[in-house]
């Protein structure tokens, strides 16, 4: 974000003055104070009224915390599980056992890379069929032992490539949905960054669905929507607005259960606070759901999804 660079410059300037202040015995505290006030003002201006497109940018921010960051911060004893037992181990999707507030859980998350090197390994967080099959395997393990499941969604989408299609990526997503519909343990899904289409939903059929404040969840990326629907690729900002892909919009539409707030400027500005808020919500939700009998859980999940959709009666043809 270009305006974010201004903030970074200003922050650096303040830091520089502080150093001077301490070393030279010149009193710059008034000047520092003035700049800090200015910084706070700019930050508020920049981040309080974000457009939907700016939220898209923030959801994809290179400094945004990823699944493994949150797992490290909110869980103890993370024990990663690898491999789909069929064809490979997809590093774009991580699974494992962990403890959340002392309780054993299975955690599944899409994982982007920080460096080019890591992104090559993790396919930019775009799982292939073996990733979804690994997730399914881990979730079935959870069911067998009565562990609640937490999924952390952060993907531009399933990996679009020849090898994905050869291994039936659509079928793998469908099988995950079918499995999740019937799992007899609680499932809580949180969109932590990008919730990109079917590749996101494939680990997102859950008893509770939350989004971080600056996460997005959408049937299609704004860029693709611009090309397909507007036939003008520059129209992605309009597409972002039209798709109602932000956490606030989706809560207002009744499609998610809640929004987990982030510090001003996004999760990366104060990771510990964001992680703590996420953990609180997970502990609370799992606590609620763990009290339900497996049959009631599956029945409630069925009812949750059965009613999704907006339509009205057709005008009678006899009129």
């Amino acid at each position: 974000m270009s305006d974010e660079r201004t903030l970074d410059l200003l922050e650096a300037k303040i830091e520089e003055l502080r150093t001077l202040n301490a070393s030279d015995g010149i009193d710059l505290s008034k000047e520092i104070e003035r700049l800090e006030a200015k910084l706070e003002e700019l930050r508020t201006e920049l981040y309080v009224n974000l457009s939907d497109w700016e939220r898209v940018r923030l959801a994809r921010h290179p400094k945004r915390p990823y699944a493994l960051d949150y797992i490290g911060a909110i869980c103890t004893d993370f024990y990663e599980l690898h491999g789909d037992r069929i064809g490979g181990d997809d590093r774009a999707l991580v699974t494992g056992l962990a403890r959340l507030d002392g309780r054993p859980i299975v955690i599944v998350g899409q994982q982007k890379g920080r460096s080019t090197e890591e992104n090559k390994e993790r396919f930019f967080g775009m799982p292939r069929p073996q990733g979804y099959r690994k997730a399914r395997r881990a979730m079935r393990l959870a069911e067998r032992f009565g562990f609640p499941i937490v999924t952390l969604i952060d993907t531009p989408g399933a990996y679009p490539g020849l090898e994905s299609e050869e291994a039936n990526i659509g079928g793998a997503i469908a099988e995950n949905l079918a499995t999740m519909a019937g799992l007899r343990v609680p499932i809580v899904a949180v969109v932590i960054g990008e919730g990109g289409s079917g590749g996101a939903l494939a680990i997102g059929l859950a008893d509770r669905v939350f989004m971080l404040e600056n996460a997005i969840y959408t049937v299609i990326s704004p860029e693709s929507a611009a090309v397909i629907l507007w036939k003008e690729k520059e129209r992605m900002k309009d597409a972002a607005e039209a798709l109602n892909l932000t956490a606030d919009h989706l809560r207002d539409l009744g499609l998610i259960d809640g929004v987990i707030s982030e510090p001003l400027g996004g999760a990366h500005k104060d990771f510990q606070t964001t992680a703590a808020a996420l953990k609180d919500e997970l502990v609370r939700s799992i606590g609620e759901l763990a009290g339900l009998a497996p049959e009631s859980l599956v029945e409630a999940r069925y009812r949750r999804y059965r009613q999704i959709g907006r339509y009205h009666d057709a005008p009678s043809a006899s009129e």
């Binding site: 679009p160 020849l162 079917g198 629907l229 039209a242 069925y302 009666d313």
Partner: protein
């Protein structure tokens, strides 16, 4: 005998000729062919054998035994929950598609017998906004499955869809979860689901309900896949084989059970369904 039983809200006109001209050019072989001949040939080019689209009504005529189809499609129309407008407001897009197709949305659902076997069938119509699955299509599929459960009979879905109805945003994405969740009820009831994939079965429909058939049959000439060819080429700059996402591609990679020609589809379904009916 008419294919349809009377149903007052169903606005379909079987006799209507959509185009004035009598001839059409086959997009595959380039031959000028007589339209009536094409229609009589189940919309297959009489010159080269290329498959053209079937409307939902034509498809039902092809699969259901004469006079057996009882329409149970719910009389519902899509809302516009996002107030969506791209180059055209969504409600206008829906109204236009309704005017063109005579359907309320991209699917018809009904009871029928197929070669004497009672089943509930859902048939999608690609002409209606690319056969895309929004709230209405999702609801009709669920309603079809629930009708099959009530009737204790199999459910057959003939997919012809580019995927999710983008204009309904996340509502359409979540129809994948909705239809899948309801599909599990059919399995719990011990009833079979036969998925028939035609040209095209892709995106969110392929990645949910259509891929969950107990048996999956592709119509010859089907396109089957998740991400579109152009999307993959743009994103990955990858060379794709010519038969990419074709019926043969899906079959070779184990995504489907069989590939069947249009003419043989009714008999194919009848023989297949008979196994499950006898078993009960």
């Amino acid at each position: 005998m008419p294919i349809f039983k009377e149903k007052d809200y169903l606005r379909v006109d079987l006799g209507r000729e959509p185009d004035e001209s009598l001839w059409m050019k086959c997009k595959a072989c380039g031959e000028l062919v007589f339209k009536r001949r094409v229609r009589e040939n189940n919309n297959v080019c009489p010159s080269c054998g290329e498959y053209f689209f079937l409307t939902a009504v034509e498809r039902i005529g092809l699969l259901a035994d004469d006079g057996s189809f009882e329409d149970v499609t719910r009389p519902i129309v899509a809302d516009d929950p996002l107030g969506f407008a791209d180059r055209k407001p969504y409600p206008e897009r829906v109204a236009d598609a309704q005017a063109t197709t005579g359907l309320e949305d991209a699917i018809l659902v009904g009871r029928a017998t197929i070669g004497g076997v009672a089943a509930v069938i859902g048939v999608m119509d690609f002409r209606f906004i690319g056969g895309s699955m929004g709230s209405v299509v999702g609801e009709q599929i669920c309603h079809g499955i629930e009708t099959a459960i009530d009737d204790r009979c199999p459910f057959v879905l003939v997919a012809s869809s580019g995927g999710a109805r983008l204009q309904e945003g996340l509502f359409s994405l979540l129809q994948m979860a909705k239809t899948t969740t309801v599909r599990q009820r059919l399995a719990d009831a011990g009833l079979p689901f036969i998925s028939v994939m035609t040209y095209p079965t892709s995106g969110g429909v392929q990645a949910s309900i259509a891929s969950l058939g107990d048996v999956i049959i592709a119509e010859r000439g089907a396109l089957i896949g998740f991400a579109g060819r152009r999307v993959i080429q743009n994103a990955m700059a990858q060379e794709l084989p010519e038969h990419f996402q074709s019926d043969v591609f899906a079959f070779e990679h184990g995504a489907i059970d069989r590939v069947v020609g249009r003419d043989g589809m009714r008999d194919e379904l009848a023989s297949l369904l008979s196994f499950f009916v006898e078993a009960r």
